[in-house]
């Protein structure tokens, strides 16, 4: 089976956010594989181990993403592709990313494409469905179970807490939700092997794309931190009095009850 995983290198949102020059300052910040993409990688490995085939993990970004791609290879992916847009693209949005990925995939005849359901930094959840639409294949988002039997695919999809049992067929794009699996940690031999696995680096040119072809369709005009919350009021005194005070505050100060 020809399997592809879309992986984003994300800002670790557990970190403190600082804004400088109208942007979130990334200097010295911690970056990770988007957690939902770890589920996608793990699922890809399990599908390959069961059905055979090859997994290519793809990222659109800059050369810093090599680290996360190597981690994906160490987990068990077979090949990595870094589409480096640093020199070509200034403004990028979800359309840009999806268009680049779809252009790369269009002649690769993918059977199964796995992505995360959402990136924890950008948070739009657009890239997966957009890629599927550009490729003209069907997709199922926020999946928690995947079974492939020949060309028939049975999926459990999380729909705001309820479950849908879905029947689909290959080729297919799915996006991973928490609960799909438990991502493995790269093993030491895995890490050694990963160093020798192929990691191809491409630029827009290699995909016959001009900057205009991938021009963003939205624009960010401002980035800001939420208004600093005044330190909350920690109530004091006897518990029963605290509770009485809380109810009064919720009624008269916060006016929510």
């Amino acid at each position: 089976m020809n399997i592809f995983v879309l992986m984003k290198r994300t800002f670790d949102t557990e970190e403190k956010i600082v804004i400088a020059n109208g942007k979130v300052n990334e200097d010295g910040a911690e970056f990770i594989i988007n957690p939902y993409d770890e589920y996608a990688i793990e699922e890809a490995i399990q599908v390959r181990d069961k059905h055979g085939g090859e997994i290519t993990v793809i990222t659109v970004g800059n050369e810093d993403a090599e680290k996360e791609l190597r981690t994906a290879l160490a987990m068990g992916c077979d090949k990595a592709v870094l589409i480096n847009v640093e020199d070509d693209v200034e403004e990028q949005d979800q359309y840009t990313t999806a268009k680049i990925i779809a252009e790369y995939l269009k002649d690769k005849q993918p059977d199964l494409i796995l992505a995360g359901n959402v990136a924890i930094d950008g948070g739009s959840g657009q890239v997966g469905p957009r890629v599927a639409e550009l490729l003209g294949i069907s997709y199922v988002t926020t999946i928690t179970k995947l079974d492939i039997d020949g060309g028939k695919v049975t999926i459990v999809r999380d729909v705001e807490g309820d479950e849908e049992i879905i029947e689909a067929s290959l080729p297919l794009l799915v996006t991973a939700q928490q609960g799909l699996n438990e991502p493995r940690y790269p093993s030491l031999p895995g890490i050694m092997k990963a160093k020798k696995k192929p990691l191809e680096e491409l630029e827009l040119d290699d995909l016959d794309l001009e900057e205009d072809d991938v021009e963003a369709k939205t624009k960010t005009i401002e980035v800001f931190l939420p208004p600093k919350k005044e330190a909350g009021k920690i109530l004091q005194g006897e518990l029963a009095d605290q509770v009485k005070e809380l109810v009064t505050l919720l009624r008269t100060e916060a006016k929510v009850v």
Binding site: V127, E164, G232, V243
Partner: protein, 325 residues
């Protein structure tokens, strides 16, 4: 500049979702005086149409077709494309719900358009429509504009104030027949896990429990408090993972994103993934026995103490209040 804007309404448990009315309000701002057309899909669509007009839609277009009784991206995609072809809107608004998240990127791509997802505010500023949305798991916000194609947006539930309901409003309701073919994905079965009643993502009051609740039984006092307040019960992943409650109650990045007027966190430590789902709540109360817990950093009011003592006392106080008023 006035625009024609369409919005897709959603039905859940036999009634329209509140976010559908919020989407109409957002569409009004985007329309800038232009027409707002609400779209409803499925066999019984007509019967809900008037309510959408009372909440501000100028017209309603339905596509009544049995293939649209349950959502699939293929079916809904085809139906909406038929509506788009006949209406030629310049803006399209969805709720940022399971449906909106799944469908909006597909249609935006089909129409070669920009999409701003998970919008919490819409304003017109300097001739531009400006959309505000949370980023970095809710730790920051960005303002975005759409620069190409149809203006696509999905709006986060419970953030955009609805317009006043007015039964004096009237408008046309028309049915469009669309040929729906080729469903490449088929929903075989829906397994209901969430409770009937108040939908978490739209609840005005949420009482949420974490690992500190300690057992499934430990949720009982929380349920009682939620009941008195007319709210819903939610949970952290910690509580779900421990098996104290079903995952359908999970609030956070992976679970539901909620913005109630009042969020009462009981025995929840306040991990970033949890905060991503609730930090924009209007008022946050934290009850935790650890005064250092992270949840106090986002709380407006905090009580350091044992939730099993505090929560029942709170329920009693609110009950007294109810009797008095």
């Amino acid at each position: 500049m006035s625009r024609k804007v369409i919005t897709l309404a959603e039905i859940r448990d036999g009634s329209l979702r509140n976010v559908s009315f919020e989407a109409i309000a957002a569409a009004k701002t985007i329309a800038q005086g232009g027409e707002v057309v609400a779209v409803l899909l499925g066999e019984s669509a007509q019967s809900y149409a008037n309510e959408l007009i009372y909440y501000g839609a100028d017209r309603v277009v339905t596509v009544e077709n049995e293939k649209l009784n349950h959502y699939t991206s293929d079916g809904y995609g085809q139906a909406l494309m038929a509506v788009i072809d006949s209406e030629k809107p310049e803006g399209i608004v969805f709720g940022h719900t399971a449906l909106g998240k799944d469908l909006a990127p597909k249609l935006a791509t089909k129409l070669n358009s920009g999409l701003v997802s998970d919008v919490v505010a819409v304003e017109e500023a300097g001739g531009n429509l400006v959309f505000t949305r949370p980023i970095y798991s809710g730790k920051a916000f960005e303002k975005k504009i759409v620069t190409d194609g149809v203006i696509f947006v999905t709006v986060r539930p419970n953030n955009i104030p609805v317009l006043e309901r007015d039964e004096a409003r009237s408008g046309n309701v028309t049915n469009l027949s669309a040929n729906i073919k080729d469903l490449r994905t088929i929903v075989k079965e829906v397994v209901r896990k969430t409770a009937e009643g108040v939908d978490l993502s739209e609840a005005k009051v949420i009482v949420a429990g974490g690992r500190g609740v300690k057992s499934a039984d430990g949720f009982k006092p929380l349920q009682e408090l939620a009941e008195v307040l007319g709210g819903a019960v939610g949970a952290s992943r910690g509580a779900c993972d421990a098996g104290y409650c079903d995952y359908s109650l999970q609030i956070g990045q992976t679970g539901k994103v909620v913005t109630p007027d009042l969020y009462i966190a009981c025995g929840i430590s306040g991990a970033i993934q949890h905060l991503a789902g609730m930090s924009n709540s209007k008022v946050i109360v934290a009850i935790n026995k650890d005064s250092e817990a992270n949840i106090f950093k986002v709380a407006d009011y905090g009580i350091v103490g044992d939730l099993f003592e505090v929560v029942p006392l709170l329920t009693e106080e609110f009950k007294k209040l109810k009797v008095r008023s």
